[in-house]
């Protein structure tokens, strides 16, 4: 029983540790920027900066290569965003992020109707 438990524990913990290791060892190449606060009524300059970073709505996440230009933009809107330095392996396009959010189908196809031979 304890063996199974240990097995389960190692199985459950592995993804988290793997992710932590990848962020720790791989050198960060990108900023992960998430818009937490809306720029509404903060003026055209701030709004334009948010738009230039490719952020169009709250809680949206974008990735940008680490550069002084990008850092300046992030610092201009530092009250509105949450930032993390991530390696290139963790950069995800909007489509990939959407796919991750999609729930599982809740079933798996055992056999197709046409192939089952009914």
């Amino acid at each position: 029983m304890s063996v199974i438990h240990r097995h389960l524990a190692s199985f459950v913990r592995r993804p988290a540790t793997a992710r932590a290791l990848s962020t720790a060892t791989a050198t960060p190449t990108h900023y992960r920027v998430t818009l937490r606060r809306s720029p509404i009524s903060l003026g055209d300059s701030i709004k334009a900066t948010v738009a230039t970073l490719g952020l169009t709505r709250r809680m949206q996440t974008v990735y940008h290569p680490i550069s002084p230009e990008c850092a300046g933009k992030i610092l201009k809107i530092k009250e509105l965003v949450e930032v993390a330095n991530v390696p290139a392996s963790e950069v995800k396009s909007q489509e990939e992020q959407r796919r991750e959010r999609r729930p599982t189908r809740g079933f798996s196809v055992q056999a197709k109707w046409t192939e089952a031979g009914f």
Binding site: I66, S67, P68, A71, E79, N85
Partner: protein, 101 residues
């Protein structure tokens, strides 16, 4: 939209003179989040003017309570008013006040 004379059947909005304990805690949390953003950009190893200016700002734990919860006002008694009287105070940078006030 704005408080109007109650004698004219308007709205009376009372803005508290000072922030409550909870609002002060929220203010500290916001300041810490901004500190985290600056620290992340600094850790990315780039150099730029915006970063230099951001690093000159006092961090949340370095700021006196006066600066966290109040701002300089030339018109207020004691030259200070609650920071919650500043429009958009949760989304603007306001950490340093005139020296001596």
């Amino acid at each position: 939209m704005f408080p109007t004379e109650i004698r004219l059947g308007g709205l009376l909005w009372k803005v508290p003179w000072k922030l409550s304990r909870t609002r002060k805690a929220n203010q500290r949390a916001r300041l810490k989040k901004v500190d985290a953003v600056i620290e992340t950009v600094r850790a990315s190893g780039i150099q730029c003017g915006a970063l230099t200016r951001a690093l000159e700002l006092p961090k949340e734990h370095e700021m006196p309570a006066r600066d966290k919860y109040t701002v300089f006002s030339p018109h207020a008694r004691g030259y200070r008013k609650g920071i919650h009287k500043v429009p958009k105070f949760t989304r603007i940078t306001h950490r340093v006040n005139p020296l001596g006030f």
